[in-house]
Amino acid sequence: MNPGIDFPGLLHPLQPFEAVVRSEPVHFRDLQLDRIVADACAGFDDAALAPVFWSPQSDPAVLQYRQAVMQALETPALAAATEAFCRAMAQVQAALRPAPDQPEARMARAHLAAAQAYCRALAAFAGALQALPLQAAGWCGWRDYLQQLLAAPAFIRLRDEADALAAELGALRYEVLIEGNTVSVRASAACEDYAQQLAHSFARVLPPPLRDGQPFTAPALAAATNLDPVETQILRGLTQLFPALFARLAAFRDRHADFVAPAVLRCTRDLDFYRAWLGYIAPLRARGLPFCYPLLVDEKAEAACGIFDLALANKLAAAGLAVVRNDYQLTADEHLIVVTGPNQAGKTTFARAFGQLHHLAALGCAVPGEQARLLRSDAVFTHFEREENFAELRSRLEDDLLRLHRILEAAGPRSVVILNEVFASTTLLDATDLSRKALAALSAQGVLALMVTFIDSLASFSPATLSLVGVMEGDAASRTYRFRREPADGRAYAMALAEKHGLSYARIKERLAS
């Protein structure tokens, strides 16, 4: 196609986007992002789409570009037009796939149909976009590109040739004479419909609907991948009887072998990303869960409200249950979050929500939450519990330390580090000591970190620490899954839990005595 006009695509404002990260990032599994991305990509071309989700962006222009495109796509009119366009393009691409066992003429005809569908899809999309008030830079650029493409002489030539050829083929008529098992095919002069003659002859006797010569609705033909033997032969006969026409058909195919403009192909792929994500969050939105486009800043003074774990929300929504949302806020000095609380208070869930938030924000997607003001991070590191690494003959503590070391080496001032109950397999004293050292190291590098721990004393580590404590309701010690900014008070909630199950010292004695 015309090399003069091009469009970089909808994922990057300046150049065609190529995903840099070619394999699933290490932190995906800990944050359950692997499941989230797999569910979102279901129904699309996984191989091309998943890498886009794997590659976070740190360029503010890119992120803003993407957020604007996605936000615009939430409006129903644009979403409908996009859906129609992507469906049409999917059919075009399916038709262009090579099918070696089909007759040449059939492949050429399918190619022609694909070309027509392509032209129609582009025209329809351009028409729809013209009618919409678009503000996002990406959409405006795409709309302008389409206008230029549709006005280009090459496109017009493609469309006109395709339509003319299709009309000629549509007007083709031939006669088939079947005598026993011999079939003759020849070009057709006009001939009368004999069934109409029948209806006319017996008009006085036939009941009213049939006698009026109503067009007969023939039963629909079942779709088939291959032509049956008779159809194949008839097609061969037609190519011989109308050599000029079929030669033109083949010539069209050669001339316009690659009629899909690269920018259109690129955009179709890019649109898959937005459609996948919006399609994934749509059912959750329908249940009332909020999603927003975060404000991305350079400081660590973050604030977010209404955040939740996306994977958990999906699971609970299937069972019809609601998911608890949390808020947090960091002042200008704070950049370490220490999350403490009783067992099963939702600490890990909160940590995951925090991690998901940052990764998704770095993709330019809509994130879970009512509003968010986040650090524009360039990487997310996680340190969650792993099974004992038997193969490398290391103890867990050794493993933990090695991993932490690697993280600290790789982390930069714009990284986000999430530690979930590290140093659990050692004594309390050692764990406290090691944790303090880790926090010190993280603090020194100025990294934004979240540490989930059962060691309450860490919560008051430094002025840069935000302590979030899981809130329990009343004496009955029931969990709310909410976290509040307050100093860790070290109450033995585990004990309260044990009491609730009748397993405190006094209760056990009571129960065994009776």
Binding site: R186, S201, V205, L210, G237, Q240
Partner: protein, 508 residues
């Protein structure tokens, strides 16, 4: 195409289901001997007679007149009637037989079956035409003339010529010629059947090939053992002839439907003629009253129970009725005085009059009814007294949705299953409501309190549309089985019966 012998538009459907009240009417009005006489063993006559009689409420005066006229024509030439019916039945039987054998042998097309059916019907249709030709001259009724006109105009010479041409052409002697386009999938789109080429003998084909430049054609052959190829070829043929096959099928259906309807309608007339003959043999009077224009006409002379006469084999006592403009008839009087018989005869006569059947009376004049319903005591309910009233009320309630203005309800000793006071109360309520809604009620009853109450009310309001009839009884207790106009009496003269059965020696 319809024979239209039973009504001008051909609305009568011999295959329609009987209405819900058919069974009750058959039992209560004792219609079995009537149908048996008409049918004389012919199941089709029995079936169509039932349908015609129970569909009577749908008829108006025009339909009744139509049927009387046609019956008059058939009365003059009953052999022609039998001949015509025989023709129709033979044709139908032949077509059905052929259909079965064809279906079993040839798997391919509906067209082949249709063409065979048409070939079989062709000769019958020709015979039909020839039978009706002389009839057209002698027919006087609009119905019969219409039938002759329909057949002779539509199945004329041109029709048979065209039929023969098409039958020949559709056997595709020179091959099946289709015209089609190419769809997006490179398959045949909308194949159309072209006028079938004639079969040319071999030498003419060769000559034509030598002399004339044939248009170029691509020829290929499907091997006999090529399963897929043969299946594909068969599918293409089926697609091409689909439209023609549908038309041929429709044609066959039309003819079969016409012949079946004709057979049924002729069967009915045969039944009617049989009934007339039988009654005349018995010496019992008959009449053919037209439906009256006035809305509440209801009078007759010598009205008798036709089933009783047919069953007994001799004429029976008839009644004179002068109930024009009456909407309520209350019949009281001596036991075994002929009250139930009268009720039956009235129900039978009104249905038969509206169905165009001969009526069992010397003369009669009836208005058009929208339905005839019965509420008689049921034999099997005599087992238990408790629940019998329940059953009666339930049965009446079930009738209610069907009752409307212009319906006739015949009640025989309803609500007798409780004490007289309660029964009278219920009867009064029911009857008042029904009569106000325009239902004509004829009530045979022993509930003196009820009859009295109605009488008092009628006298007070001065209404003229209530009539009281009483079973006659002579002073010595003899019954005449006649009804006379008379006020209700508190006794039904059970004393007479007692005396008769126990003899005069019984204590007084």
């Amino acid at each position: 195409m319809k024979p239209c012998l039973l009504d001008p538009q051909g609305h009568f459907d011999a295959n329609a289901a009987l209405p819900a009240e058919a069974e009750a009417l058959t039992q209560d009005l004792a219609l079995a001997p009537l149908f048996a006489t008409m049918a004389a063993g012919d199941a089709q006559v029995d079936a169509v007679a039932r349908r015609a009689l129970f569909a009577a409420p749908a008829n108006d005066a025009a339909v009744v007149a139509w049927r009387h006229a046609v019956l008059a024509d058939w009365r003059a030439q009953p052999e022609r009637l039998a001949q015509l019916r025989q023709l129709a039945d033979t044709a139908l039987a032949a077509e059905k037989r052929a259909f079965r054998t064809v279906f079993s042998r040839i798997p391919e097309s509906r067209l082949t079956r249709g063409l065979l059916a048409l070939r079989i019907l062709r000769s019958s249709l020709l015979e039909l035409r020839e039978t009706l030709l002389p009839l057209q001259a002698t027919a006087r009724s609009a119905g019969l003339q219409g039938l002759c006109a329909t057949v002779l105009e539509r199945l004329d010479e041109d029709f048979f010529t065209a039929l023969d041409l098409h039958l020949e052409a559709l056997s595709f002697p020179g091959g099946l010629l289709l015209r089609a386009g190419l769809d997006e999938d490179c398959r045949a789109s909308a194949p159309q059947l072209c006028p079938p080429p004639a079969k040319l003998p071999g030498w003419r084909l060769r000559l034509r090939g030598l002399l004339r430049r044939e248009p170029a054609s691509y020829r290929f052959h499907i091997a006999p053992r090529d399963e897929a190829g043969n299946r594909a070829l068969s599918e293409l043929r089926t697609r091409g002839i689909a439209h023609a096959a549908a038309l041929i099928e429709a044609l066959v259906d039309q003819f079969v439907g016409f012949l079946a309807a004709l057979s049924a309608e002729l069967a009915l007339y045969q039944g009617l003629l049989r009934l007339e003959t039988r009654l005349q043999l018995l010496g019992a009077p008959l009449c053919q009253p037209a439906l009256s224009e006035s809305a509440l006409a209801c009078s007759a002379e010598g009205l008798y129970d036709v089933s009783l006469a047919l069953h007994a084999g001799r004429p029976v006592v008839g009644n004179d009725l002068a109930a024009d403009g009456q909407c309520l008839l209350i019949i009281t009087g001596a036991n075994q005085g002929g009250k139930s018989t009268f009720l039956r005869s009235l129900g039978q006569a009104r249905l038969m009059a509206q169905a165009g059947f001969p009526v069992a009376a010397r003369a009669a004049s009836f208005a058009r009814l929208s339905g005839v319903f019965t509420h008689f005591r049921r034999e099997e309910d005599r087992q238990m007294r408790s629940g019998k009233l329940d059953e009666e009320l339930a049965r009446l309630s079930a009738l209610l949705p069907s009752l409307r203005r212009g319906s006739l309800l015949l009640m025989n000793e309803s609500f007798a299953a409780t004490n007289e006071r309660e029964g009278s109360e219920i009867a009064a309520e029911v009857v008042r409501a029904l009569v106000e809604q325009g239902v004509m009620v004829v009530f045979v009853t022993h509930l003196y309190a009820f009859a009295c109450a109605v009488q008092t009310e009628a006298a007070q309001t001065g209404r003229q549309d209530v009539q009281f009839l009483r079973a006659q009884r002579s002073d010595d207790g003899q019954r005449s089985f006649r009804l006379e106009v008379g006020e209700p009496l508190p006794t039904a003269w059970g004393q007479d019966l007692y005396t008769r059965i126990f003899g005069k020696s019984a204590p007084a």
